[in-house]
Amino acid sequence: MSAIPHRPVSSAAPRIAKPFDWAGLVFAILLTLVIAVPLLVVATWAFTEVWRYPSLVPQKFGLRFWSQTLSRADVWEALFLSLRLTAVVTALSAVICLPAAYAFARLKFPGRNLLFLSFLASHAFPKFGLLVAIAGIFLHLGLISTFWGVVLIQLVGTLMLMIWVPVAAFQAVDRRMEEAARDAGAGPLRVFWSITLPQAGPTIAAAVLLTFVGTFYETEGAWLIGAPQVRTMPVLMISFINNQLVVQYGAVLSVMLWLPSFLALIFARRIVGTGAFARGFGA
């Protein structure tokens, strides 16, 4: 008796619970193809010695171009230069922008909104025009072709992300938490260090990480200000691709350049919980 009313329920339930999303699957596959195929082609090129039209797969695989690329001194120089440059820019950006972001989030001062918008302004113009203008100024200051010149130009590019995202993160921190810490006996600096920063931490970590990756791949500023003395990895890659008709050099370098961003992304997934960005933007 009792089994009879159960049957229609149990057979109906799965049909309602899991309608298969065919459209979603198609979109997912298409998206994956669009993103993954170019990556696959480049990766394949990096390990190819001979690949002639119209063959679908290379005629000869090999690591010849890897050893050729890796034996070049300028590649290693560029890699370490890029790492040093990016680390310095990210650290400077954090030192400058985080306190500024806190001030924007918590303090009221005249001109606050105008200043805040001015960080957006550098992104509101065609970037190359702005860079050329800055390059003109740097030429007078003797900063062209110097390490610190490139640091400066790349710093400008990081400002917006490093101000806007942390401002939102700091604003999301409950003021009562900070007051409770004052009440427990902590001075303002200690409150910032022990309460505000950890509370805003995941979102700020995400901003720092994105700044690092973005700066590492920044090409226009580094090329315009840095060339010819200061050559970063992306700049080197472009000159390889422009000057030599061997596809493999560029392919090997771009596979090498994946590495830092890939590690950064893995790291990001570990420390930045899902939704940290959404929270940072006030969702």
Binding site: R176, R182, A184, G201
Partner: protein
């Protein structure tokens, strides 16, 4: 242990006053409730005592020491916030230990004192939990322990139970009262719930528009309200407009001896001071409805001039809807221009204190 003295404290925001010339003495070990509707300045006053707002004028003294200009971290006060404000990136133990660590206490002492504090609020084994894993009531207990572990001279509670449900609120306030009287800690408690104030306070400060309306023990506040506002805010009170002529207050349904100067006045009558008798008079008030609370019945009566009166009757009373009744009054207050000018009838032991159900 600690005395709190507030001398002529004001706080102005732009054009208006949030707190206007408040003076108050809180004795050692006393629990004082600041009671008032939202916007009455009670929270602002508390935050000035805690150091989170700076008074525009006046002085705040703790044990005769002026703390008016000290930041919160240098005041001997401990605050419990309505939103509990626990630090969600630390576990319960670290939350409570933070203040002790700032004071550079030895590790063993910190452990011992945190465990004592947790035991006191009934959360002995919860040290390793994250604060987000606790229920609302448990979070508020941790916040209380976090303040108490630092042994503040003055404990400040800013509507700590407002976000909890009724049962939990009642239980927690009993626990707070127990802990407070055991430790003998001078406490200020902000609330907008009159039952909370009546249940907890040694003295109640009723605030309205930044001004203290009355400061008195709960029974006095209830039985001898100094102003019409206090009378309406604490418990439920029927108000009825009368005209006084030669010592007699007259209303169509009531005639009472009111020995004040001639003119209009407002009578305040508690529901428990009203009695009803059936009437044949065609213009007498009619019973609108009767609600049975088990312990008593609350009867609404509509008078002909539109005034709605509430009367508290014994539970066995039968009052059908539409019944015409005469009002009998055993005790009443007379107010003129908002202030009480006369009071008559039952006081003290004659009337049981009852908390409103309105």
């Amino acid at each position: 242990m600690a005395r709190l003295t507030i001398k002529g404290v004001s706080k102005s925001f732009g054009t208006g006053f949030a707190v206007n010339d408040v003076s108050l003495d809180v004795e050692d070990g006393e629990l004082v409730c600041l009671l008032g509707p939202s916007g009455s300045g009670k929270s602002t006053l508390l935050r000035m005592i805690g150091g989170f707002e700076r008074p525009s004028a006046g002085e705040i003294l703790i044990d005769a020491k002026d703390v008016t200009r000290l930041p919160p971290e240098r005041r001997p006060t401990g605050m419990v916030f309505q939103s509990h404000a626990l630090w969600t990136h630390w576990n319960v133990f670290d939350n409570i230990a933070f203040g002790l660590r700032l004071r550079r206490r030895p590790r063993a002492e910190i452990r011992e004192r945190v465990e004592q504090a947790l035991a006191m609020v009934g959360l002995a084994d919860y040290g390793q939990r994250m604060t987000t894993q606790l229920s609302g009531g448990q979070q508020q207990r941790v916040a209380l322990a976090r303040s108490l572990v630092l042994e503040p001279k003055i404990l400040l509670l800013d509507e700590p139970f407002a976000s909890l449900d009724q049962h939990l609120r009642e239980r927690l306030r009993e626990e707070v009262k127990d802990i407070q009287s055991r430790l003998g800690i001078t406490t200020l408690f902000v609330t907008h719930g009159q039952d909370e104030a009546l249940a907890l306070a040694d003295r109640i400060v009723v605030m309205r528009d930044g001004v203290m309306e009355q400061v008195a023990p709960p029974d006095v506040i209830y039985r001898a309200p100094r102003t019409e506002f206090v009378a309406s805010f604490i418990g439920s009170m029927n108000f009825i407009r009368v005209t006084v002529e030669e010592g007699i207050g007259r209303h169509e349904d009531l005639t009472l001896p009111v020995p004040v100067a001639d003119g209009p006045a407002v009578l305040g009558i508690r529901p428990e001071a009203l009695s009803l008798t059936p009437s044949e008079r065609p213009r007498a008030g009619r019973v609108h409805r009767s609600i049975d609370f088990g312990t008593h019945k609350l009867v609404d009566i509509d008078l002909l001039d539109g005034t709605r009166m509430k009367a508290m009757m014994p539970p066995e009373t039968q009052v059908p809807r539409g019944l015409r009744v005469e009002l009998g009054v055993s005790a009443f207050h007379v107010f003129r221009d908002g202030a009480q000018v006369y009071q008559a009838g039952a006081r003290g032991s004659e009337t049981e204190r009852r908390v409103s159900h309105a």
